[in-house]
Symmetry: C2
Subunit: 327 residues, 2 copies
């Protein structure tokens, strides 16, 4: 059972972005369709192979899963035996606590809430730490998102050690120089997401990069058909498309700079982010969230940070410009 | 990492059906395309809604996941708070050992090998038992597939009790009177598969039916976006299509009777099965497997049962008829 929000207040929007059904309930007079800036997903998806009806009908062939993992491994710069495809980075990060068996974890915060939730559900003791406390914590595992969501903080000093170090690189395609995927192994585990940079979050595809034995245990946790025919079709082709990746990297950079200029002009302070989302501060952020929503623009507020709003990139600009001018 | 078979011998076909790439390696002279009878998947899939490009690009809205679970719950005859969507029945059954924490399991055998493998990987003690040993076993959990794969054995005496009882109903749409989904709760857990009866195994969609607290824990194990946009589009529509379900139930029954007649005429003894697959015995089954494969017809042999071959339904009949006549 899922737990969709029945309360159309702000609460439902504090957990994750992308809650368009809840937004329609909460803001019934907003002009549609929604301009959804509440997530950090590329609004111009990779457009290529889709699964054929024949592929959707069959069980994915393990050779096709292996080819997907090999294409991803080439893009990550690692050997294929270190890569395990999972049905979304979220499912991957939620499998790790039980697979690793660590009883305590330190999550470098503030960050994406799914990590702490996953470890808590597995019965682990969870502490939140600042980045400069990584060396000092006694936790058996450390989780760091790099570059970080929502503030874009970048770590260039991540080192493998004798405790589990889980590096969530869901947004690293926007800053590929930060990736430690090539060093995954031993107790260093890297998590990668397909849907964000490639703009295909509905496909549900992610990867865990780890030493071969652990990668095999991750694969075994999901079984011989870990991802869908659609994920295989899109992922195998998209990871092989280096030209698209390079072009998109540059376009996102330009677009996020343009977004910064618009947000600054509208009175937001841009605190940081990646080229897939920008984090802002403004004293009246929660009422701005509501006024933007009334105009059909959904952004992302944060619990315990009432001055923050996060903006994803729009596919087109005029509507966002108009909504910001009307603030 | 997946482990595709590099050995093109019989070994690779003993684990699971559907290994067409391995079959092409092992039987390079077989006329293509393969007639794949190695799985129990309906060869005439439900044809309807596919995910739109917009849905593939976005994170699935939790309300859409809830609507899928509600449609499945109506088809199963249970309340939606007992239903958790998972990215394939396989991923569901592999999550259960760690979620339940049982240290020993009895698997009613012979049956689908994934269950024993999943429990072994989670560190549980695994015993295989006959159906009449269910009451006597001391294991903390029992797994029974009903109707059973590969022999079609049917249990109409499944009872909840004070140990975990996991009923894998992956093929129960072919014998809906056997389902105990409406009694799921307490320690009785039911596993359902979308892809087999609906003929869309590449979509990766399954469900766990359990008491609401456990269903919520299963959902939390996979996170807020447990299944793909494609799974949501197909599943939500297909489960609501009672007319298709009824028509397909009858067609599969007719087709499996026709298959039985052909197999019997070709000298196979039909041991049982469901209307999605038929289990046969013949003294020279392994050489028949090879001779059928040389004609491009892939069937399913079994480890430790050298006289068995399992046949799925063909989409069209002439090619199977010719291959059987040439045996």
């Amino acid at each position: 059972m899922s737990a969709p929000g029945s309360d159309p207040g702000l609460e439902v929007f504090l957990r994750h972005g992308g809650r368009l059904a809840a937004a329609t309930l909460a803001f019934p007079n907003a002009p549609g369709p929604w301009l959804d800036l509440s997530t950090g997903i590329n609004p111009r998806p990779w457009k290529g192979a889709r699964a054929t009806p024949v592929e959707l009908a069959r069980l994915p062939d393990p050779e096709a899963v292996a080819a997907l993992e090999a294409a991803a491994a080439r893009a990550f710069g690692v050997s294929p035996d270190r890569v395990a495809a999972v049905p979304g980075a979220e499912a991957g990060l939620r499998a790790l606590p039980r697979l690793l068996g660590a009883r305590s974890v330190a999550v470098v915060s503030p960050t994406y809430g799914g990590h702490a939730e996953a470890w808590r559900l597995a019965g682990a003791r969870v502490e939140t730490i600042c980045a400069d406390q990584i060396a000092a914590t006694a936790a058996e595992a450390v989780v760091v998102v790099n570059p970080n969501n929502p503030d874009g903080a970048r770590r260039d000093d991540i080192a493998a050690g004798d405790r589990w170090m889980i590096v969530d690189e869901s947004f690293v395609e926007t800053a590929p120089e930060l990736s430690v995927a090539t060093r995954a192994g031993g107790r260093l585990i890297v998590l990668r997401s397909f849907g964000k940079f490639y703009g295909l979050a509905g496909v549900r595809l992610g990867f865990i990069v780890a030493e071969p034995g652990l990668a095999a245990r991750v694969s075994a946790q999901f079984g011989d058909w870990p991802v869908s025919a659609e994920a295989i079709a899109a992922g195998t082709s998209a990871y092989a498309d280096a030209a698209w990746r390079e072009r998109t990297f540059r376009r996102l950079f330009r677009d996020s700079a343009r977004l910064d200029r618009m947000l600054t002009a509208a009175g937001f302070e841009v605190l940081g982010g990646t080229s897939l989302f920008r984090l802002t501060a403004s004293p009246d952020a929660q009422s701005r969230f509501a006024r933007l929503a009334e105009q059909g623009v959904l952004t992302r507020p944060f619990p315990e940070q009432p001055t923050w709003l996060r903006f994803g990139l729009p596919k087109t600009w005029p509507r966002l410009a108009a909504a910001l001018e009307a603030l």
